[in-house]
C-alpha cells in the first residue's frame, strides 16, 4: 500500500485541512451588536469582582453593572448617587451612609446595608488576596484583618488574622450603616466612589465571607445594566438594560464590551465601522487620527502623572538648586508635541490640576524651559557632569527618555545617558536599596479625586511610592492636618501649602499629565470620558 497512491494521501490531507479550517467555525453572527446597543473596546479585564479590580478595563465594565455610592461632578466634587445622604461627625471620623430605598440587584434582591458591609469585609480580609484591599486600609480595624508572613516569602504559612470583620463598620438599620475611620479624614466621601466600594448581593457568597467561584464570570450588580450571559473571555462582555431601574437610566439599551489584545486592532475596527468607541487611540495612529475621525476624535484630561524622581540619597542630588536647574533645562512642550503628538500635556505642578483645589502651574518658573538660566544655576551650584536616567525597558519609554537626554545635553552641556532596567520592579527595588540607578522614571494615577491621593503616596516620608527618599516633616504634618481638616475647603488650603514646599524642594521633576484620546463612530454622540479612563455610559447617546 505505501507508495501506491501518494497523491490520494496528499489530496485527502489537504481536503481534511480545508474542511477543518472552514467548517468547524460556527457561523452564527451573535457578535453583531443589537440595534439599540453600542460597542466599546476594552482589553481583557483581569477580574470582574469589584474588590479585586484595579485596572481601567474592569473598571469600565463594572461601571455599567454597578451603581456607586457617589459620582463626581465636573469639578470632581462627590455627590450621592446610590446613597441618599452621606454625613459625618465633627472630627470626620465617623461617617454615616444612608442608602436610597427601593433599589435592587439585577437578580431582584433588595440592596441593604448588609450588602455593603459584607462586600467590604470580604475585600479587606487579607487572606482573600483582593487586589483593591488597600482602599479599606483607612477603616478602623483593617490591621486586624491582615497577617504577616513570618518568614517573608518562605514556606511557613502566615497565621490567620485576628478578625474577619472590620470593627469600623456598623449596621444601624436596613438602609443605614456607619463607617469609623482609624484617623480623621475629610475626603472619605470621595474615596467611597471607587469600584472597591460596590456592594455584593447575598447571591455572590457561597458561605459567609467566601465568594462563589463563578461570581466573577457574571457579576450581579445594582447598576443600570446586567450581564447577558457570561463573560466570553478574550472576546466580549455583553450587558443589557435592567428594566425599571430606579436610578439614572442610560440612553442606550445595552453595551457590548468588545475585548481586544492590541489597540491597533481596535482602531482598525473603529475605522471599518465595527466598533463604536475606542477609549485609547494608539500612538502610531495619532498622526492620521484627526484626518480619519475629524470631529469624532475627542480629548479630555485624565489623572495620570509622569515624573522623574531624584535619588535624594545620592550626594550629587542633595542640592535643591541643582534639581531646579535640571527642571528648567527640559522643554516639556516640545516633548509632548513631538514625541507624544499632543496625547499628553506638559506638567507644571506636583498634583494633577484635574482634582479639586489643585493648581495648573504651582511649580512656576522652575518648570518653564529656560536654558540660559538653567545653565547658570547648574554651573554655579556645581551640578553633576554626568546624568543617568533610570527607566524600565519594557514600557516603551526609550524614545522620550532619549529626547529628554538630548535636551539636557543641549541646555546644560553635560553628558546624559539613559540607563534601562528590565522591569519597573527592578528599578524600584534598586532605588529602595539606595543603589545609584540615576533619576527614577515613575508614573502615578490617582485613586480618588483629592490632592491627598498624590501628596500622600508620592511625597510623604512613609508614602507607598516615595522610592526616592524625600523626607520633610513640615510637609508630612501639613498633609496630615489637611486630611483631618473639618471641611474640604480647609483641607485643600493646607494641601496647597504642602505643595508649595515641594516647589521649594523639587524632590521630583514633573513632566507630563495624561489625556484620554478617544475616538467614536458616527452611530454615537455625546461621548465623554472621565478621569479614570472610563466612558460616561449615562451621557452617551445615538446620533440621529
Amino acid at each position: 500500500m505505501p507508495g501506491k497512491s501518494p497523491w490520494k494521501v496528499v489530496a485527502s490531507l489537504a481536503a481534511i485541512a480545508l474542511v477543518a479550517a472552514g467548517c468547524s467555525g460556527s457561523t452564527s453572527d451573535d457578535t453583531e451588536v443589537l440595534p439599540n446597543s453600542i460597542s466599546i473596546g476594552i482589553g481583557e479585564p483581569s477580574s470582574l469582582v469589584p474588590q479585586n479590580s484595579v485596572e481601567s478595563n474592569a473598571s469600565q465594565v463594572l461601571a455599567s453593572l454597578f451603581y456607586p455610592l457617589v459620582r463626581f461632578d465636573p469639578k470632581n466634587k462627590p455627590y450621592p448617587v446610590a446613597a441618599q445622604s452621606i454625613t459625618h461627625d465633627k472630627a470626620n471620623r465617623v461617617w454615616t451612609v444612608k442608602l436610597k430605598p427601593g433599589f435592587t440587584f439585577s437578580n431582584g434582591e433588595p440592596v441593604t446595608a448588609d450588602n455593603y458591609i459584607d462586600a467590604w469585609n470580604f475585600g479587606a480580609y487579607g487572606p482573600n488576596g483582593q487586589l483593591a484591599s488597600y482602599f479599606f486600609s483607612r477603616i478602623d480595624g483593617f490591621a486586624d484583618l491582615q497577617s504577616k508572613d513570618p518568614d517573608d516569602g518562605g514556606p511557613e504559612k502566615a497565621p490567620e488574622p485576628k478578625a474577619t470583620k472590620l470593627s469600623g463598620l456598623k449596621k444601624v438599620n436596613n438602609l443605614t450603616f456607619t463607617v469609623t475611620l482609624s484617623e480623621n479624614f475629610a475626603g472619605w466621601e470621595s474615596v467611597m466612589g471607587y469600584d472597591a466600594f460596590y456592594p455584593l448581593p447575598k447571591a455572590a457568597f457561597a458561605s459567609e465571607g467566601v465568594l462563589k467561584k463563578e461570581y466573577g464570570e457574571a457579576p450581579i450588580g445594582n447598576g443600570p445594566f446586567k450581564m447577558k450571559g457570561t463573560w466570553t473571555h478574550d472576546e466580549k462582555i455583553v450587558v443589557e438594560q435592567v428594566p425599571d431601574f430606579k436610578g439614572t437610566v442610560p440612553k442606550i439599551g445595552g453595551i457590548t464590551w468588545k475585548i481586544y489584545q492590541e489597540l491597533g486592532a481596535q482602531y482598525a475596527d473603529l475605522m471599518a465601522g465595527n466598533l463604536d468607541v475606542e477609549t485609547k487611540i494608539p500612538i502610531e495612529s495619532l498622526g492620521s487620527a484627526s484626518g480619519d475621525l475629524g470631529a469624532r476624535l475627542g480629548k479630555s484630561p485624565s489623572s495620570s502623572f509622569s515624573f522623574m524622581g531624584f535619588p535624594l540619597y545620592e550626594d550629587k542630588w542633595k542640592n535643591p538648586q541643582v534639581r531646579r536647574a535640571l527642571s528648567m533645562a527640559i522643554n516639556r512642550e516640545e516633548m509632548t508635541d513631538q514625541v507624544f503628538l499632543g496625547s499628553e500635556t506638559p506638567a507644571k505642578s506636583f498634583v494633577s490640576p484635574v482634582v479639586s483645589g489643585a493648581r495648573p502651574n504651582s511649580c512656576g518658573e522652575a518648570c518653564d524651559y529656560n536654558p540660559t538660566k538653567a545653565r547658570q544655576l547648574y554651573t554655579a551650584n556645581n551640578g553633576p557632569k554626568d546624568i543617568k536616567i533610570g527607566y524600565n525597558a519594557d514600557g516603551g519609554h526609550k524614545a522620550w527618555i532619549d529626547a529628554m537626554c538630548n535636551q539636557i545635553k543641549g541646555s546644560l552641556g553635560v553628558n546624559c545617558t539613559g540607563a534601562p532596567q528590565p522591569k519597573l520592579g527592578t528599578l524600584v527595588d534598586k532605588a529602595r536599596a539606595k543603589e545609584d540607578v540615576g533619576l527614577i522614571r515613575l508614573g502615578w494615577a490617582m485613586d480618588y479625586p483629592l490632592m491627598e491621593s498624590y501628596l500622600g503616596p508620592l511625597y510623604t516620608s512613609d508614602g507607598s511610592s516615595n522610592y526616592y527618599g524625600y523626607k520633610n516633616s513640615t510637609f508630612d504634618s501639613l498633609v496630615r492636618q489637611g486630611s483631618a481638616a473639618p471641611t474640604t475647603t480647609q483641607a485643600e488650603k493646607l494641601w496647597r501649602e504642602a505643595e508649595d514646599l515641594l516647589v521649594r524642594d523639587m524632590p521630583v521633576l514633573p513632566l507630563r499629565f495624561g489625556q484620554n484620546v478617544f475616538g467614536y463612530s458616527d452611530r454615537v454622540t455625546d461621548v465623554t470620558m472621565d478621569l479614570y479612563q472610563k466612558v460616561d455610559i449615562y451621557s452617551i447617546d445615538f446620533a440621529d
Partner: protein, 308 residues
C-alpha cells in the same frame, strides 16, 4: 513500522518532559514578582502577596513547584493562570481557532507554492520564473510585523474587502486575510524548494529514459518529476504547520484572534508562568506529532524508505 512508531512515541515522552522542564526553569528564572505586574505602579501589601504566593505555590522552591506542576499535568490539570482562569479551559478555547488559521494558511501557501514552483521549475529562466523570484524575495524581506498591519489597512479598511478583525468563532471568510498574511511566512521557501527540486529532477536520468520511451510530456512531468520533487516539499510543509501555530503571535495580535500566539505573548508580558508553560507544553506535543506524521508520510511517498 509498528515498532518504529512505538519507539518514536517513547522518545516523545522523554522529549516532552525535557522540554517542559526547560521551559518551566526558564519561566521560573524570569518570574520576579508577577502580582506586582497585576496592580501596576502601586506596591502590594505584604498580606496580599503572602496570600497570593501561597495560592500559586510561588514561595516554594523550584523543584517543589515543578513537582506540583507535573503531578497536576499527569492528572490532566494544567493549573490556573495568575488571573484565576483555568488554563485547561483557556487551552480548549484558544487551540481550535489557531489550528484552523494555521491549516488555512498552509493550504493557501502550499497550493500557491507548489503550483508556481512547478511552473517556474519547468520554464527555468523564463519571464514567470524571474517574476516569482522577485516576488519571493520581496515576501521574504517583508517582516510580518509590517505586512500584517499593512494588509489590514489596505484590504480591511481602505478597500473593505475583508473584515479587519476576526474573533474566536470566525468563519472562513474572516480568517482568509489573516491566513494569507500568515502564509507569507512559509510560501516563499516552499516555492523556492519546489522550483529547485523540479528543475533538478528534470535533468535526472529517469526523466530522460521516460522521455526516450515516448511517454507523453504530461505524464513525465505529472507523475515522474512531480512525485519525486514533492518529497522535500512535503517535509517542509509538515514542519511549517508547527511553525505557523507557534508563529502566529504577531498575526493573531493584529487581527485580534484570541488563539495560542496571543496567549503566549500575554503570558510572557504578565510573567504568568503557568500560562506560558501550559501553552508551550501543548505546542511541544503538536510539534512532536507533526514530525512523526511527516516522517511516516515520507515513507509513503518514497518506497525506497523503510522504517524498522
Amino acid at each position: 513500522m509498528f515498532r518504529y512508531i512505538v519507539r518514536r512515541l517513547l522518545q516523545m515522552v522523554l522529549t516532552f518532559f525535557g522540554a517542559t522542564f526547560v521551559v518551566y526553569a526558564l519561566m521560573f528564572a524570569n518570574i520576579d514578582d508577577p502580582f506586582q505586574a497585576l496592580v501596576g505602579d502601586r506596591p502590594l501589601t505584604d498580606t496580599q502577596r503572602a496570600a497570593l504566593n501561597a495560592q500559586y505555590h510561588l514561595d516554594d522552591g523550584f523543584l517543589t513547584q515543578y513537582w506540583h506542576y507535573v503531578t497536576g499535568l499527569l492528572t490532566g490539570d494544567f493549573g490556573r493562570s495568575l488571573t484565576g482562569r483555568s488554563i485547561g479551559e483557556m487551552l480548549a478555547q484558544a487551540w481550535p481557532v489557531t489550528i484552523r488559521l494555521a491549516l488555512l494558511a498552509i493550504v493557501i501557501a502550499s497550493v500557491i507554492a507548489v503550483g508556481a514552483g512547478v511552473l517556474a521549475g519547468l520554464r527555468r529562466g523564463g519571464a514567470f520564473d524571474t517574476v516569482t523570484l522577485v516576488l519571493t524575495l520581496i515576501v521574504l524581506a517583508m517582516p510580518i510585523v509590517v505586512l500584517a498591519p499593512l494588509a489590514q489597512l489596505v484590504f480591511g479598511i481602505q478597500l473593505g474587502w475583508f473584515p479587519p478583525t476576526a474573533t474566536r468563532d470566525a468563519n472562513l471568510y474572516q480568517l482568509l486575510l489573516p491566513a494569507l498574511v500568515l502564509g507569507t511566512l512559509v510560501v516563499a521557501t516552499e516555492l523556492r524548494v519546489t522550483r529547485a527540486s523540479v528543475a533538478e529532477n528534470l535533468r535526472a536520468d529517469y526523466v530522460r529514459t521516460a522521455r526516450a520511451k515516448g511517454l507523453a510530456p504530461k505524464r513525465v512531468v505529472g507523475v515522474h518529476v512531480l512525485r519525486n520533487s514533492l518529497i522535500p516539499v512535503i517535509t517542509l510543509i509538515g514542519v511549517d504547520i508547527g511553525v505557523l501555530m507557534s508563529g502566529a503571535v504577531v498575526t493573531e495580535g493584529v487581527f485580534n484572534i484570541p488563539g495560542v500566539g496571543f496567549n503566549l505573548l500575554r503570558g510572557i508580558r504578565t510573567e504568568d508562568g503557568p500560562l506560558v508553560v501550559g501553552f508551550v507544553s501543548v505546542l511541544v506535543i503538536v510539534f512532536l506529532v507533526i514530525n512523526l506524521i511527516v516522517d511516516l508520510l515520507y515513507a509513503a511517498l518514497d518506497p525506497r524508505i523503510r522504517y524498522e
